[in-house]
């Protein structure tokens, strides 16, 4: 062993070692890697999820979305706010609607001040990290920039990242209440064990599902070809909400996209409502908000009964679809 290693020998040895490593990886590592145990939705349920199923917190008025956000959460949860569910060292996932490359005034996305407030309250409640993302419709960079959410959430202390295609995992929708969807790729952050998943929606009309509120907002954690969700969209949304039940739901109705949703693009489609509401059930929050008596939807745009995904979600036991039975803490 007294000779120096020549370059040729080095390459030969390195190549052999590399091939051996690849073989070892192919035999053992592959199966233990990303494709391991089947994905499951394991986010934490709010401890009061059942008790508060028919209850929402509501804050209206003023011109301060941040204050309304805090007030709505405290109306529902009491002065402890998000401490009712977030424990010291938790990971919190906030999924705002960042779906469109529109400025906040166009009401196609959640107001950045609302996002920032939720991030701050999560950190105050002891969260170790707050992650903010959305699987946008148009260019992710543009949506994050135009909505102002990336800047606001980062300033409030959140980690903001774009969805990456390799981070979706196929989730089986095996549940007797699910009628159409069999499986769908879901963003893996949401599938982590015991995370607190906050569903943060904007109040918008929608050309196919009539309204886009908390239940519809969940489409932002889906990968795959979401255009296919539009085939029987009401049933698909009900199915999605049977399997994915966020820890907490917040609806930002600071501005309501009262017509031509969900993309908007003109200021005269937008009505200021200065409202934020929240609840542990997406169906209950949506039922209150979709009711034309409660938010300034364009006259005659829809009736609550026409929004079938809310009724079907309630029928699956996810919440309350009858506004008369909803307990509003305002």
């Amino acid at each position: 062993m007294n000779h120096e290693l020549t370059r040729r020998e080095f390459f030969r040895k390195a190549g052999l070692a590399g091939a051996a490593a690849c073989a070892a990886w192919a035999v053992g590592g592959c199966s233990g890697g990303a494709g391991g145990e089947p994905a499951a939705y394991r986010a934490r349920a709010h401890p009061m999820a059942d008790a508060w199923k028919a209850r929402i917190g509501l804050a209206q008025g003023g011109d301060d979305p941040a204050r309304n956000t805090r007030a709505a959460i405290e109306k529902l949860c009491g002065p402890d706010g998000l401490k009712t569910v977030i424990r010291q060292g938790d990971i919190v996932i906030v999924k705002p609607n960042i779906g469109w490359a529109q400025v906040p005034d166009m009401a196609a996305t959640v107001d950045p001040a609302v996002v920032a407030t939720v991030v701050r309250m999560s950190l105050e409640a002891g969260a170790k990290a707050v992650k903010v993302f959305d699987n946008t419709l148009g260019s992710g960079s543009k949506c994050y920039e135009f909505s102002g959410i990336q800047a606001a959430a980062q300033e409030a202390g959140a980690e903001v990242s774009q969805c990456a295609p390799h981070r979706f995992r196929m989730l089986s929708f095996a549940d007797p209440r699910v009628k159409r969807l069999m499986e769908w790729p879901i963003y893996e952050d949401v599938l982590a064990a015991d995370v607190v998943f906050i569903n943060l929606a904007a109040a918008k009309t929608h050309n196919a599902s009539l309204v886009s509120l908390c239940m519809k907002n969940l489409m932002g954690i889906q990968g795959g070809d979401r255009g296919k969700m539009h085939q029987e969209i009401h049933q698909n949304l009900a199915d999605l909400n049977v399997v994915i039940r966020p820890t907490f739901n917040i609806l930002d109705a600071t501005r309501v996209l009262a017509q031509e949703g969900p993309g908007g693009g003109r200021r005269d489609f937008v009505v200021k409502a200065d409202t934020v509401l929240c609840g542990t059930s997406a169906v209950t929050v949506d039922a209150w908000a979709a009711d034309p008596a409660n938010l300034p939807w364009k006259k005659g745009h829809h009736t609550l009964a026409a929004v079938q995904h809310i009724a079907w979600g309630a029928a699956a036991g996810l919440g309350v679809a009858d506004p008369g039975r909803i307990e509003v803490l305002a």
């Binding site: 590592g29 890697g33 990303a34 490359a101 400025v103 699987n135 946008t136 419709l137 148009g138 260019s139 992710g140 960079s141 543009k142 920039e145 135009f146 102002g148 990242s161 774009q162 969805c163 990456a164 295609p165 390799h166 979706f168 790729p185 929608h206 050309n207 196919a208 990968g223 795959g224 070809d225 979401r226 255009g227 296919k228 539009h230 085939q231 029987e232 969209i233 031509e260 969900p262 993309g263 693009g265 003109r266």
Partner: protein, 597 residues
Amino acid sequence: MGKRGQHKHPLHVARIVAQLFFLGLFLFLLILTARGALATASPRLARLFLDTDPLVLAGAALAGVFSTSLLAALAVVALSLVAPRAYCGWICPLGTSMDIADRLLFRHRDRTRNVTPRLRQAKYGLLAALLVLAMFGLGVFGWFDPVCILTRSVSVALYPMADQGAKAGLVAAEQHGIGGAAQAYDWAVGNHLLVPETDLKKGGGDRGYAVGYTWAWVFAALLVAIVLAQAYQKRFWCRNLCPLGALLGLLGSASPLRPRVRRRCIACDACRQACKTGAFQPGHAPSAKEGKHRYTCLVQECLFCYACEREFCPVDAIRIGSGRPAPVRPEAQVCPGRRAFLGAAATGAVLGPALLLDQRTREKEETNPQFRPPGALRPEEDFMAACIRCGQCMKACPTNALHPSGVENGIAGLWTPTFIFNIGYCDYLCAVTRADVDAGRTGRPANLCGIVCPTGAIAQLTHADKVQWKIGTAVFDHSRCLPWARGEECLTCEEQCPLPEKAISHQTQAVANLEWLKMPQDKRNRCEELQGRLARGETLSADEQKELAALPPKTRTLALPYVLRDRCTGCGTCENVCPVDGPGGIRVERLQTREIK
């Protein structure tokens, strides 16, 4: 390498530094301007290498196209009048790539016997033919221009490959739990060093997110071929084929500055063998060695690399300086004579009409309509003249929508940009930033393809003009669109139409209920019987009412989408997001793009 290689000429060192600097600058600008990241901040930098290319200036001028930014090429023209092909030796990033590859791959290869003086003349013929074709309104010289070649190959093939490679590595590391890999991925994507997948395919995942171009392999293979041709001769492309090199050589053929071989030359052939382009040839003057002729340098072939003066010559006979050229023997003459020039030009003059006819015939056939970028000169003939097929627009397109054409619309259209809406779409915002919106800046150019286009083949448009530019018109294919063809709900296209006044709307209509069609005939009959009795005013029993309520109705209401043609700009967003696999249920067609709004 000569015996005197220890001490390099200071300008030789400077030349190497310059080469590395310009290649680095080229790649740096390319990565920064890919998908438009820097193009809005500094359009001139984004176009720098193409704007300073004299062949682009000459070709565009002959094609009747003028763009003030191309005047930057006059700087290179001025340089070439003094030092003809110094550009090739010092600046050209393709040349530098070749030098690097040569050093890595062929350093010890003996190529001294591969002498092909006649082949050198090919580049002049190519130049003449290409310039004649430009006069016919075909900007096809970009097929052979070295800056175009490298821009195209790197942006369309190598950069996407590097992007994929880097991502694959980071993803593998992340999936094996290597710390920091996920953060590195997010950082690189968040800062546009890697392409953010969410910018590309709407809805995405299973139909592929990656930035990539059709025919990318061809562009990679061309670059590899150019580099590997050096196995035969150093700088094979530059000596024999490069039309830009030919142009620069011609410009500077009267330059007084050149390598001069002094009387002490012993005609040992060392300089010709060592020179990158083999620019040295035996001349007429006698040499120090009895019966031999002193060598002389063909100035049109000299790259001014400054290696010869101190490194090649065993007797120190070479000096780069000014003086009258020594006469060259006719058989070593590089620049072809008038006859050959005229022959090449005549070839171009024959090819020109042939290519035009080919293109017009294929266009008439209209089976493969091409969709030009917003701002592309109209009529199509003007675009074909001004477009140099450099690939800049494809590189800058933020949604990966622009791709190099094949020969669908004629050979001359090869590598011109065309939209493939199943891959990308013409982004409504494109170059517009949030800062522009906040500051109310509406006058800035908004189409990245136009911003980076060196010749103005794609004009720069303001946002207001860009979003009204008609690329084509979307048309529903009723045999594929889900509501029309299958009676299923959809409206994805309407949802994502980016126009404030949407160009797609819908109307609800009663259509056949598929649940009804699934029922056996006896149940249908029973249902019709009960309904008939209701219609005649009879009352049904409670059981019968329950029975009827449980049966699906014969028809259901369904939202059927329509295109509002006068609003549609053919941006292709609808075609891009259509959930129908394969050709979409709505597709952009070239209907009435010119004549009617």
